[in-house]
Symmetry: C2
Subunit: 306 residues, 2 copies
């Protein structure tokens, strides 16, 4: 596995993020059971769901926060795999007919289209378990046992009923409703924000503890980008096309789901995204040395086109 470029102005963000994505791809390919191992079809479908596509935003956050805290890079790989596996499982279940009923994801047929509904459910279930197995491996890669327990508890909380799964339950219940802005923000802080925040925290917890002021700044950063990500998703769902997005566009409106665009309008959504990006930048200023990659990820999240 290639070493990561050091954090310096000379190394462009594109190079660094490509190097992290490549490392994480290798780590995911090693963490996922081989297709030849029984049950083969389940393992084949798990690899199909995870490998070869995806923006890997969560792994980038893990590595960027880990760089800030001088964490061992192998421990960050374990944590990065864990958050990406949770993300991948949530997409598999989310796409199923009883949820969003989507046929296209990352430019490919969704897992239940390719492998059937029953196996898709098991793929999601098994990927969630694998996320925790991967995270436990961080302990063997330089993170302390106490940090590893703390990380497992955080991952479980972020993925669970008051985090991501809870956000999806609120999302389900909100179809056809006109949510107010506060309720919409609450839903998104759970559905997307909790796992993005967890990615930042896990990366940091693999390394040296921050002082209280920098810890608070890191939390502000995570809160800002966690919400910004979803606001931009809502904008892209209106503005994007399936070719760029790699998934169906306009599906929120089609599914009659409240979004930032439907609740506060397109221009106000754009202003909000930029404001959250600036909050994240301000937090990075407080974090100081080592926060360059976090700063660049905030820009990526707000300025992305897919």
């Amino acid at each position: 596995m290639s070493a990561l470029p050091a954090c310096s102005d000379e190394v462009a963000f594109a190079d660094w993020s490509a190097a992290v994505a490549a490392r994480v791809e290798i780590a995911l390919a090693r963490t996922l059971p081989d297709e030849e191992l029984a049950p083969q079809r389940l393992h084949q479908a798990m690899r199909y769901a995870v490998l070869g596509a995806g923006k890997r935003v969560r792994p980038l956050l893990v590595h960027a926060a880990g760089q800030l805290c001088k964490a061992p890079v192998a421990a960050l790989d374990s944590a990065a795999c864990a958050v990406e596996l949770i993300h991948a499982y949530s997409l598999v279940h989310d796409d199923m007919p009883c949820m969003d009923d989507d046929a296209l994801r990352r430019g490919k047929p969704t897992v239940h289209i390719a492998y059937g509904e029953a196996l898709a459910m098991l793929v999601g279930d098994a990927l969630q378990a694998l996320a925790f197995e991967s995270l436990c491996g961080a302990g063997a890669q330089g993170a302390s046992a106490a940090s590893t327990v703390r990380m497992c508890a955080e991952l479980a909380r972020a993925a669970g009923s008051t985090g991501m799964a809870g956000g999806q339950a609120i999302d389900l219940a909100s179809v056809g409703l006109q949510l107010d802005r506060e309720s919409l923000e609450d839903m998104h802080r759970r559905k997307t924000g909790a796992m993005l925040t967890a990615s930042v925290r896990l990366g940091a917890w693999c390394g040296d503890p921050l002082d209280a002021a920098r810890q608070a700044a890191l939390e502000r950063y995570a809160a800002a980008i966690g919400l910004a990500f979803q606001v931009v998703d809502d904008i892209l769902d209106v503005e994007g096309d399936a070719g760029t997005l790699g998934k169906s566009a306009g599906k929120d409106a089609l599914n009659d789901k409240p979004t930032y665009v439907s609740v506060i309008g397109l221009e106000a959504s754009r202003d909000l995204a930029r404001g959250l990006r600036d909050d994240a930048y301000a937090a990075c200023d407080t974090l100081g040395a080592g926060a360059q990659r976090l700063h660049q990820i905030a820009r990526l999240i707000v300025e992305r086109k897919s």
Copy 2:
């Protein structure tokens, strides 16, 4: 929470197991988020799926193995909740239309009947996450951080693609097939055996380490009861009725699934179950002092009527 009766011949197994079940019920009720906490309907459905029913065999195994290893009882409660939450999530997903399509479980409508398919999927997903959150709590209850990491890794492995979820994938693929006995055993060792074995291990790992001979005996015990449980399940599916079982009887034959009864016959299945029980008894003899409850659970598993 009431103290557990000490392990002695004077305290009948029925009293001990009722006391453990009562402790675990209280611990589960505290671990599951309150129904008043948002998202309320998800939390209501999670509690519906877990509380008030179930044989609690896995929690009994955790406490019995923990007693053998003089483990702190509060740590055992965390581990017992974890294995029971994994079990409960697997039932919720297993009952769904794309899997076994069952309407009755533990004498009540299944979760997807009561709350809809989409929420049932999220209930299962969130219960799996909660299991890991609960297990991480064992660290605060007297288990070491290193033991807690080891337990999380074991729970993840047992629940995952080479354990329970993998066994279910093999089960799905075996509908209508005539499996040989070896393949049937492999399927069941994953589908049911892995989590029963994990229950025994987690209980033991909350306490003092065993010497190598007793560790090996505990593994033999776990392997024997793990398989016995499924053999008896297959027998009860033929012999039982829905009123006693609290679930639909005869569903394996109806679903054209291979079982011990269909592969080796009813009498040979009964002999196998008794033989596995005797293996478990022999392991308990090697374990010696403190293994009384494990011995009694082996009898319970083989002689149960539901």
